[in-house]
């Protein structure tokens, strides 16, 4: 009996090893390092420049600006563009991991491993479809700019390749992939939020009254994206994972911590320094005038990608994480904004008018039409800096010239976190956010980005992706 049991031990160990390998694969696609999709007939994605990827990133930012896209929808478009970019080149990365199996319900066509493909052509055609549909709510499909870019790039690749078969096959594969991403996009409930976005803010009056609740501060505006928090995140486990709630309770008592928060904001406003003024203007990132906060950080990231001379594989991997983190953090923040509005969410202007009895006070920046906590700028900045720091390191000094776009001088920062902090505090200087919403917002952003990088495994074309796998 004892002998029989001893004989069974190797069998049991074998079963355990096999099952752990099976579940490991299920979690991470092909986690063993070898990419099952890898196509050895084609030139690896790391041997291409990132020109095609950056052309689509720029195009998306341009469209966000021209089409008056707000920050959350801009983040969504960026999220799906990142997925399309990475999935277009993953078969050209030896140890890349397909997103199929990692993103729930995402199924993709596979390239034929016996045939050659041109990854930039695949990317060009998939990104066109995703950009067109991802932004179609704002500008209608077949927008000329997008089509022109696709056609121009197809013409260039076709000429460069000088192989009609490879070009046609790559184009077709890119289109199939783009359509697969579109199918996946339909599962995040975005359509539902378009059709059912009637929002009734919880009453602030009545008995007992709820002065802590948010209300629209401009009579001409309605609540912005009240159902955004119901969308399905891409890389995060659950929307609630990184949610925070204000640690300081609303109070009208002059000795309360909440009142002190407001006094701090009001004090800055009344003595408004040039630093306060310029900082709030610089990071305002208004829709229409600018690329919005997710777009602004996309441009900051682009500068680093250029500085480090990233190839196509590295660029796609970076923007895949970056886009997913920006989209997921928008969902997380907007969920908190409207959830917390049952308990807090009041904007500084409302409090200063009602409680501090300053009915004429106006903030430097326009108050946007959604609840205060957490600060949207802070969550976008926190998520972006977490990814940027993982890829390019801490204490990276850089000068950002993105807002020369609106006639503002470039600004230099000691690190990405330094910039994120300034972006967050700019909202307090601008008079539209309390400090807690900023500090907590940055934390939420970092938490979401960290979670995305832990959950999604892309490859090891960069040290950051290697680190994320551990």
């Amino acid at each position: 009996m004892k002998k029989a049991l001893i004989a069974l031990i190797p069998v049991a160990i074998g079963i355990v090893m096999l099952s752990s390998a099976f579940y490991g694969c299920k979690d991470m696609g092909s986690s063993s390092g070898a990419n099952e999709m890898y196509n050895s007939k084609s030139k690896p994605a790391s041997e291409f420049t990132n020109k095609m990827a950056l052309a689509w990133i720029d195009m998306l930012c341009d469209q966000v600006r021209f089409q008056r896209v707000g920050p959350p929808p801009a983040a969504r478009a960026l999220g799906y563009l990142g997925i399309a970019m990475y999935q277009s080149v993953v078969a050209g990365i030896p140890d890349g991991h397909s997103l199929e199996g990692q993103l729930k319900g995402f199924t993709v066509p596979k390239p034929d491993n016996t045939l050659e493909y041109d990854w930039p052509t695949v990317l060009n055609n998939s990104c066109y479809i995703v950009c067109d549909e991802g932004l179609a709510r704002y500008m209608g499909p077949n927008t000329p700019n997008l089509k022109n870019l696709r056609d121009k790039m197809n013409y260039l690749q076709d000429s460069l390749l000088n192989n009609k078969d490879v070009f046609a096959r790559s184009k077709k594969y890119g289109e199939d992939l783009g359509n697969a991403v579109l199918d996946y996009m339909k599962t995040d409930k975005y359509d539902y939020t378009r059709e059912n976005n009637i929002y009734e803010a919880p009453s602030r009056g009545g008995d007992p009254s709820h002065p802590e609740r948010w209300e629209v501060t401009d009579v001409n505006k309605t609540a912005y994206e009240p159902l955004w928090g119901t969308l399905h995140p891409l890389g995060m486990d659950t929307t609630e994972l990184c949610q925070t709630f204000p640690s300081i309770k609303y109070s009208q008592e002059p000795n309360s911590d909440f009142y002190k928060f407001v006094e701090k904001l009001y004090g800055i406003d009344t003595s408004f320094s040039e630093y306060n003024r310029l900082t709030s203007l610089y990071w305002a990132d208004d829709p229409i005038e600018t690329f919005t906060p997710p777009g602004h950080w996309t441009k900051i990231a682009k500068q680093q990608i250029r500085r480090h001379n990233y190839n196509l594989a590295q660029t796609c991997e970076f923007y895949c994480y970056f886009g997913m983190a920006e989209y997921d953090v928008s969902i997380s923040a907007w969920k908190t904004k409207y959830d917390i509005n049952r308990g807090s969410g009041v904007r500084p202007i409302t409090y200063i008018h009602e409680v501090m009895n300053k009915p004429d006070w106006e903030p430097y920046i326009e108050t946007p039409p959604f609840p205060e906590y957490p600060s949207g700028h802070s969550v976008f900045s926190g998520a972006a800096t977490e990814i940027l720091t993982k890829y390019f390191g801490d204490n990276v000094e850089f000068t950002d010239s993105t807002n020369m776009l609106i006639g503002l001088n470039p600004r230099t920062f000691k690190s990405f976190y330094d910039a994120a902090n300034e972006a967050g505090y700019s909202r307090m200087y601008g008079g539209i956010h309390f400090e807690a919403a900023i500090l907590d917002g940055i934390k939420v952003g970092r938490c979401v980005a960290d979670n995305v990088m832990k959950n999604i495994h892309l490859g090891s074309s960069t040290a950051a992706a290697d680190q994320a796998k551990k």
């Binding site: 720029d58 001409n220 406003d269 009344t270 003595s271 408004f272 040039e274 003024r277 310029l278 203007l281 208004d286 229409i288 005038e289 004429d360 106006e362 430097y364 010239s401 993105t402 807002n403 020369m404 776009l405 609106i406 006639g407 503002l408 001088n409």
Partner: protein, 181 residues
């Protein structure tokens, strides 16, 4: 053919006022001098205010494929039409897609502070944000003004609010330099 031509001309004449109705601030106005008056000055009781916004220059700001202009001016404010002893205030304008920022740099001899007037082109309102030097404050009633119908009305209203809320003599003889910011 003549009928078609006539119809086209009449149609164009008919729609022109409506087409231009949307715009208070035309691009070409930004490179021209502007002037006007404001009745019943607070700083010079019983007098009118005369102002001139003199266009000086512009500079180009470029990012990737985009270019934005910064327009530079000098605002002169006086209690007489000949602009004798006028108070001079440098000004910089950033004309964006939906917003135009007017920044006036007020120097009291010890400190320069920026007065911002933000005009919303489509909704046609403007508002002011300014924290003046303590000794230069008269009152703090910066109003949001709606239904701006012309550039002249916009400028006169801005100068009117300066007159209401500031002790203008605080800034006499201290013309600020436009900060490079």
């Amino acid at each position: 053919m003549n009928k078609v031509l006539k119809f086209t001309i009449y149609f164009l004449l008919f729609i022109t006022p409506f087409a231009s109705n949307g715009q208070v601030l035309m691009k070409e106005m930004l490179t021209q001098d502007q002037k006007g008056t404001v009745d019943k000055s607070v700083n010079w009781p019983g007098k009118k205010i005369y102002y001139v916004l003199k266009y000086d220059s512009l500079s180009l700001y470029k990012f990737e494929t985009y270019t934005t202009n910064r327009y530079y001016y000098t605002l002169s404010i006086a209690d007489n039409a000949t602009m004798t002893n006028a108070i001079k205030v440098p000004c910089m304008v950033r004309d964006l897609v939906v917003k135009t920022y007017f920044e006036f740099y007020f120097d009291n001899g010890t400190e320069t502070k920026t007065f911002t007037a933000l005009y919303e082109k489509y909704e046609k309102w403007y508002r002011i944000k300014f924290a003046p030097q303590w000794g230069c404050r008269r009152q703090e009633e910066w109003r949001r003004v709606n239904d701006i119908a012309s550039y002249e009305q916009l400028l006169s209203s801005i100068v009117g609010q300066m007159d209401n809320n500031l002790k203008l003599d605080c800034y006499a003889g201290h013309e600020a330099k436009i900060p490079n910011q």
